[in-house]
């Protein structure tokens, strides 16, 4: 499973990318592979407030519904509208085309609680 070095990760299998004062969020390659064919993505609206470790949306595969948990608190400033019509991006390109939201963090220190690529890699790629 691919685990890009430059990202941070949550134990709930979301990735976090720091972008000057903002963070971009999506789900990991491991998560999409576990879920199987993604057919529906439900995301918050711009302006919504996310609270760390609380559900902020959901990803549905043919078989199941999985909640998305906020890896960090903050205000949603951008949502990937393309996923509405192309949920398969989550399978095809979890780290690029399938970013889900961009938020303005309210508690920057929460970033310290996230996992490094190496630490996350150890969780998902151990046999």
């Amino acid at each position: 499973m691919s685990v890009p070095k430059e990202l941070l990760y949550s134990k709930e299998h979301e990735w976090v990318k720091k972008e000057d004062g903002k963070v971009r969020i999506g789900i990991t390659d491991f998560a999409q592979d576990e879920l199987g064919d993604i057919v529906f993505v439900e995301l918050p609206e711009p302006g919504d407030e996310l609270e760390v470790n609380e559900p902020f949306g959901s990803v549905e595969s043919v078989k199941t519904v999985s909640e998305l948990y906020a890896p960090i608190s903050g205000k949603v400033i951008e949502v990937n509208e393309e996923l509405e019509d192309s949920p398969e991006f989550v399978n095809e390109s979890p780290y690029e085309k399938a970013w889900m939201v961009v938020i303005e963090p309210s508690e920057e220190t929460e970033l310290d609680d996230l996992l490094s690529a190496d630490a996350y890699d150890e969780i998902v790629n151990q046999d």
Partner: protein, 371 residues
């Protein structure tokens, strides 16, 4: 937690990339390459399923017909050797013990193929209602001795025909043949033209020790026809589109076959006094308060098992099964709702997490193959 059960084919899954999950206590493949892909392969070419987790119970002896007539809702007396019948077994109140196929192997010799999770319950239920002596009837759970594979899809017959001398076109829907030689296998098989996908195809029963050899034989035979191994995920979406009920969802202890629209298999006028007859006849004659219908989402969202349904803010029922149907590309569900709302076009709302989303009642089956 007790250890998961495995079918005799478990070791063969790995090289085909199976992802296995706990399915009612069984470690079974939910998918090989992906549910959508496998679903389409079965609809357009052919798919091979290991369904050995299904239970097999034999009922034999001079009183077996009398006994089965008392236990099940369909008219077993209509069967002749080498024919199969879909039936239900019910409680006194009309709730469902299980749904299954009865194969008439010979006079006084029947095979019941039941749902995996219900096998022990069914066996106990049958045994506890048996008032005959051992010389009149014997009931046996032979599930562990039998491997069952399902070969389904438009190329199923063509593929299977390449490994047998038996003329498969002679086996019509819901008929079967016993003692069929497939390839050079050491055991003979029972080949039945039945399935759980809405496609043409076969269900094949063979001794457990020949299971892996049969799996490999068929996969090899179908390779250039696009045959692929299929997991339980696609089995569920295939049966759902074809409106075939799943025990525990469309029918259960709390849901009668009449409510689920299965009255074709409930013969309330047959002579034998079967368990549940009175309650089921009452339902047929006076109507039921809720009915199984198809729903299609109007708003964006996917109906899922257990989601509540409302009509003008009043509780109307619940979703029994639902998904984004791979063949139809629609977000659809089966739902048990109040009978007065069970008409095509009626608008309902489905509680999807925090929101009530608009849906409407539609015709079923969602999918019917072209013949």
């Amino acid at each position: 937690m007790s250890e998961l059960k495995r079918t005799p084919l478990f070791s063969a899954y790995e090289k085909y990339g199976a992802k296995t999950i706990d399915f009612g206590g069984w470690d079974l493949p939910v998918q090989f390459t992906g549910i959508k892909h496998e679903h389409e392969a079965t609809r357009t070419k052919a798919g091979l399923f290991d369904v050995s987790h299904m239970g097999e119970i034999t009922v034999k002896g001079p009183k077996s017909l009398d006994f089965l007539q008392k236990m099940v809702t369909n008219d077993v007396g209509k069967l002749t050797p080498n024919r199969a019948q879909y039936t239900l077994m019910c409680y006194e109140d009309g709730g469902t013990v299980d749904d299954f196929l009865i194969y008439m192997l010979d006079e006084d010799d029947y095979l019941l193929v039941v749902n995996a999770a219900n096998t022990d319950k069914d066996y106990q239920w049958l045994v506890s209602h048996n008032t005959f002596s051992d010389s009149e009837i014997t009931i046996e759970n032979v599930s562990n001795e039998i491997v069952q594979l399902a070969l389904q899809g438009p190329y199923a017959e063509e593929i299977l025909q390449t490994v047998t001398e038996t003329d498969l076109s002679d086996i019509r829907f819901f008929r079967f043949q016993q003692a069929v030689q497939l390839g050079q296998l050491n055991d003979i098989a029972l080949v039945s033209r039945t399935g759980y996908t809405g496609e043409d195809g076969f269900e094949i029963y063979i001794s457990a020790k020949s299971g892996i050899a049969l799996w490999e034989l068929i996969l090899q035979a179908g390779k250039n026809k696009g045959l692929e191994p299929i997991g339980l995920g696609a089995r569920d979406t295939l049966r759902f589109e074809a409106n075939l009920p799943l025990y525990g969802q469309e029918i259960s202890k709390e849901i009668s076959p009449i409510e689920a629209g299965l009255s074709f298999a409930v013969k309330v006028n047959k002579q034998a006094d079967f368990i549940g007859k009175q309650a089921l006849r009452y339902q047929v004659e006076n109507g039921v308060e809720r009915k199984l219908v198809g729903i299609e989402m109007v708003d964006k969202g996917i109906p899922r098992t257990g989601y509540e349904i409302y009509h003008n803010d009043d509780y109307a029922g619940f979703v029994t099964s639902g998904t984004q149907a791979p063949t139809l590309q629609k977000n659809i569900g089966l739902a048990l709702i109040r009978t007065e709302l069970a008409n095509e076009g009626v608008e309902l709302t489905v509680q999807v997490r925090k929101r009530k989303l608009l849906a409407k009642v539609v015709k079923t089956p969602f999918y019917k193959r072209e013949k």
